[in-house]
Amino acid sequence: MAVPLARRILVYEWRRFLPATISVAFSGVLMIVQGALLLGIVSANALYVTQSGADLWIGFPGTQSADLGRAIDPGIAANLYMDPRIARVEALLLGAGDWRGARGGGTSVTLVGIDPRPDGVGLSKAMSPPVRVLLQEPGAVLVDETDLDKLATDIGQKAEINGHLVRVVGTTRNLRAMGGVNVVASLGTARMLDSAISASDSVTYYLAKVPEPRNISAVHAHLSSIPGSAGFEIWTAGELAGLSVRYWLLESGAGIGFVFATVIAMLVGTLITSQTLMAAVAASITQYATLRALGVSFPELRKIVIEQSGWVGAVGLGMGLVCSLLAAALARLNDIPFELRAGMMLFSAAVVLSVALVAGLLALRRLRHADPAALLR
């Protein structure tokens, strides 16, 4: 093995490369955590979809986000029930309420009406079947475990929604809304609580379960083609969730603000990384000039710098990843919406690594333009 000059320099002069490594870690963490928080928060608007077990959602045409659904013509139900590929059809209601409890004053809540059968698909991932059947009792509601304090209530306690008495019979998981509060009830209780959806045939969404995944697109196409389909729209669960996230990400002020903050974090991280790495490379410039004098070609020098930048990037990213996972664990402990996605981590890693490499090469430019003889004085 030839003398591994790049790594020898890196190991021997690690203090010089430490700031660059830390700044890589810092910008990685900044990007990943900002992105995960952003996704976590905007994903809250798709919670009704992501926490349910339905494959297809049928709702008001042109709905921009799952939480903005409006009442649809219930006539579509017959087509759903008749399709043999659909194993289960269920209604889901979205209403509004004014919660009055122990704290006094009112709190605006979103009412979510679901089918309370134990095998129901609406919000099936947010509660266990035994908790779900408790909703069969009229006036029974569930609130999210993270909202108990906000509503100043607890399991077993009573409150009023729109002047009707309700009792908290249990809690849901992962149903913390962005800003508001989700209160889950049976379809019957929801209709009783909110007069706007009180008609017995009022429905916000129909949820359909298609047991064979390969049938989903066929059912989707079939339903879209039936006469009168202009009165509703059909999405797969993934489509509606994506729609909701994109709507809040790109079209609401909150989302744009957060995207802006993430981009700033990226730029700041990039800038610090490139500056510190350039300083580290520039500090070794006489060593590179010596190699130039010895006849080592510029591409060979570039190899050394790329190898060093690669190591700085890799070690920094490793540190950043560990910190991001710690942040994720911390967020989970505190029920903070935090969506750590592999795609985002790969993207951040790619950005940070490219920054490291480009910064290293930029630092070498000085050497290219300078007379090697002059640098050796």
């Binding site: 030839a2 003398v3 020898r8 021997y12 060593q287 010895l294 006849g295 070609s297 003889a373």
Partner: protein
């Protein structure tokens, strides 16, 4: 006739004005003169580190001044050894590794490279210090490691830029003797730039420069017998 000028902040300085000289293999040629007289510029033109504004440089049968940057890199790698005023060793490497570096870039196989590096280090009397890094070596030892690094590729041209100015007289003398012995033993062209007058007695040929011109070219009479390398 070589000329070279530099422009720094719009002020043009003529570092070399119509200098013409031949250097011979197998002897130590010393270029002396006050600082700023152009001797280092001459060295960097002769070694292919930079290109003259006008004139031609021939070295080892090659017209150096006509080569591209990459070709001059390859020429230096193949034929030139350098010894610098500030040693310019790599702080991270041991003495033996320093010496091996040029051979690595010449793609010499590892076992041969290690053997030749060891021989070169032994030649400058530092085999017993082979595992030490520059921070653990004295100034004289550092310069001897640098000479071994220049020597290891068996260069036909060896350039030394003020090799003794950071050393005391004893170490300076050792280093100069070493350079001269290398010239005699290997038949290389050894060119040394210095403003240190103590070196004159040890050189085979002395070229005096001033204001970018060559003033005098003489051969001091030698009394000191040379030991074989």
């Amino acid at each position: 006739m070589l000329s070279k000028s530099y422009t720094v902040q719009n002020i043009r300085t003529d570092a070399l004005r119509d200098v013409s000289l031949d250097l011979w293999a197998g002897e130590l040629s010393l270029i002396i003169g006050p600082s700023g007289c152009g001797k280092s510029t001459l060295l960097s033109l002769m070694s292919g580190l930079s290109r003259p504004d006008s004139g031609t440089v021939y070295a080892a049968g090659v017209e150096l001044s006509a080569l591209s940057d990459a070709e001059r890199d390859a020429f230096r790698l193949a034929h030139c050894g350098f010894v610098f005023q500030g040693f310019n060793l790599f702080p991270a490497l041991t003495a033996l590794e320093q010496v091996q570096i040029p051979l690595d870039y010449l793609k010499v196989p590892q076992d041969r490279a290690a053997r030749r590096a060891a021989e070169a280090l032994d030649m400058v009397g530092l085999w017993h210090r082979r595992h030490l890094r520059p921070a653990e070596l004295s100034g004289g030892e550092k310069q001897r490691v640098a000479i071994a690094r220049a020597l290891v590729k068996r260069p036909s041209l060896l350039f030394a830029d003020e090799p003794t100015s950071a050393l005391d007289s004893t170490n300076g003398g050792t280093v100069t003797d070493l350079l001269r012995r290398i010239a005699h033993a290997t038949g290389a062209v050894v060119a040394c730039v210095s403003h240190d007058p103590r070196l004159i007695a040890r050189a085979d040929r002395v070229l005096e420069m001033e204001d970018g011109r060559l003033l005098r070219d003489r051969r001091p009479a030698h009394s000191e017998p040379m030991e074989p390398l």
